[in-house]
């Protein structure tokens, strides 16, 4: 149907692939600043277009009807999803994209094995090993990401679901997968396809079992880790297919996921293995025990809050995932606008895990037109806290809990927090005193300089904004 122009692995195709991955790198490099990032994204997309067109023009590309169906369906789904998705739903979206990416790699690996069998020759080990790696990691990513998606979308409980003997089952699955891989590698002339399908299924189970027990609060780590996995699986597919652009692009994605995973784990003061295997992040043992007693706290209304804010010089807003759930980012922006029109300096303190994926809160606030100069990172804002007149905590909980600093016995001890209790006054907008993801009481709520405003974040912010306007 289309005249083949390039020889697979030939000079022309390879040269174009090199152009493509160079554009990916330039694109990501441009992504280091908000003003150039949009252009960088277009450059990377241009690189992708070059890579895809080059491949379509390779000798040996065929079954055009199937290619058209695949491209058509995938494009339609991609376009609709990217237009419809809400910014609050970005973590689910990225989880789903991780999943389909891993799934694609696993399917390609399966195809490669079948192709090798049909040729009837020995599959060289430097092709077979990457194929097996791609199959395992791709399948783990696909199923793990689907579980992460289901948890984020509240299709299944976000609480850790512990299966008894979990670690043992995982270890047995992993050993089984490795043994099956060795079995295939020892028979490169005639790999057993049933064993290969067994590997895909065992890896699928492993993906399910590893992510199921992980709680909602740990999702930023999990999503980043799955991102790294899918990247590595693509690089492995590149080794198997001798394709340089796959190797480089997959490695870039793998690096990105790895860096984000480490940053998220650091922000929670936990190791990655602790996140994966400890089953924390939902309700730790004994977490619900403290519900019985009521500790004294100060409760105020929207009007009092408005007065405190309007007569302050500096106000720092500390948004958490609750703000996203209540869709309160626009209402908060109104409060900030009212305050700024009165000459109050307003900043936003963003905890690295304030949201359900890396950088999520920044996107939500950008959606509400908050200038990115006002978005301060934790390390930047904490030294400013003692000079802050009023800190407003909206829908954030664990990341403000002074127990992380003061109580070595606390389950979140050592977790870096936004030190709002250092501010002159604190207003916490929250529905109730109920604990956050970590399942523990927040000492902040009971401090003498803290006032609780019990309300829905969006409604409360709207009221405060109109109260300030009337002052």
């Amino acid at each position: 149907m289309i005249q083949a122009v390039f020889e697979p692995g030939g000079d022309a195709a390879t040269a174009l692939y090199i152009v493509a991955f160079s554009l990916f790198i330039v694109g990501i490099k441009r992504g280091t600043h908000p003003t150039t990032a949009k252009q960088g994204n277009l450059i990377a997309a241009g690189g992708m277009a070059i890579a895809v067109v080059t491949t379509l023009l390779l000798d040996g590309i065929g079954n055009w009807g199937l290619i058209a169906v695949g491209l058509g369906v995938g494009t339609a789904v991609g376009v609709i999803a990217s237009i419809r998705v809400q910014m609050t739903e970005m973590p689910q979206m990225v989880a789903l994209y991780n999943g389909v990416g891993g799934g694609a790699v696993a399917l390609i690996a399966w195809s490669e094995i079948r192709h090798g069998i049909s040729l009837g020759e020995d599959i060289p080990l430097d092709e077979l090993i990457p194929v097996l790696f791609a199959a395992v990691v791709g399948s783990v990513s696909f199923w793990g990401s689907n579980i992460a998606f289901a948890k984020l979308q509240d299709l299944i409980p976000t609480k850790p679901l512990a299966v008894p003997g979990q670690q043992v089952i995982n270890a047995v699955l992993l050993i089984g997968i490795l043994a099956a891989c060795v079995n295939i590698a020892l028979n490169p002339g005639d790999p057993n396809q049933a064993v290969f399908i067994g590997i895909l299924i065992a890896a699928a189970l492993l993906g399910n079992l590893v992510v199921l027990p992980i709680g909602g609060a740990d999702m930023p780590v999990v999503i980043s880790l799955l991102n790294a996995f899918t990247g590595l699986s693509a690089a492995a597919a590149g080794f198997a297919l001798d394709n340089v652009v796959l190797i480089v692009a997959g490695t870039l994605v793998g690096s990105s996921g790895t860096i984000l995973t480490m940053e998220m784990a650091t922000a929670m003061n936990r190791s990655v293995s602790n996140v994966l295997f400890a089953g924390f992040g939902g309700a730790p043992s004994g977490g619900g025990g403290g519900d019985g007693e009521e500790r004294p706290h100060t409760s105020i209304g929207a009007q009092d809050a408005a007065i405190k804010l309007a007569y302050a010089d500096t106000v720092t807003i500390v948004p958490g995932y609750g703000l996203a759930v209540a869709q309160a980012q626009h209402a908060i922006k109104e409060v900030a606008d009212e305050l700024e029109s009165r000459g109050v300096t307003v900043n936003y303190a963003i905890h690295p895990v304030a949201g359900r994926m890396p950088g999520h809160m920044n996107v939500l606030l950008a959606e509400a037109d908050v200038p990115y100069e006002q978005l301060k990172e934790m390390e930047e804002i904490n030294p400013e806290m003692p000079r802050t007149d009023v800190a407003v905590v909206v829908g954030a909980n664990d990341v403000t809990n002074p127990a992380a600093k003061n109580d070595p016995e606390s389950p979140i001890a050592g977790m870096p927090i936004i030190e709002v209790s250092e501010a002159q006054q604190v207003i916490v907008i929250k529905r109730s005193l109920s604990p956050g993801f970590a399942g523990i009481d927040n000492d902040l709520f009971y401090e003498p300089n803290t006032s609780m405003l019990f309300a829905d974040a969006k409604a409360a912010a709207g009221e405060i904004a109109s109260e300030i306007a009337q002052l």
Binding site: I28, K29, G31, T32, P34, A37, K38, N41, A45, M48, A51, T55, G60, I61, N63, L66, I67, G70, V73, G74, G78, V79, S82, I83, V85, M87, M90, M93, V94, Y97, N98, V100, A104, V105, S111, R114, H115, D126, S224, N227, T230, A234, A237, F239, L241, L246, I247, G250, L252, G254, S255, S256, G257, M357, P358, G359, A366, D369, P371, E373
Partner: protein, 105 residues
């Protein structure tokens, strides 16, 4: 390509990746993730290649799904990243231009 050429490329790409990506600020981590999702869509190339030598119904199905998955990554990833970055780029600083830089001049 020999195995060691490929490993060389891989190792260098690891260093380039860490170097470039560690400079992306926290603010832009979500768009970075959706953009790397899109770049990961490069696996669609693998789907295009394997569907070329597919010759039974199961392989047709496997290859077509792989292409569709890859296309979702590419199209959805780049588009949603563009949407997000549009929010950041919307207005660099309409007000701050007056107070910050104007004062110096």
């Amino acid at each position: 390509m020999t195995l060691f050429t490929e490993i060389t490329i891989f190792v260098l790409a690891v260093f380039v990746g860490f170097e470039v990506i560690s400079k992306v600020p926290t603010t832009l981590h979500t768009p970075l993730m959706s953009q790397t999702n899109a770049i990961h869509g490069i696996v669609m190339l693998g789907g295009l290649i394997v569907v070329g030598y597919a010759n039974d119904p199961l392989e047709y199905v496997i290859g077509t799904i792989a292409i569709a998955f890859g296309a979702i990554n590419i199209v959805g990833g780049f588009m949603v990243t563009d949407r997000m970055l549009g929010m950041f780029a919307k207005k660099p600083k309409p007000k701050a231009e007056g107070d910050g830089k104007g004062g110096a001049g």
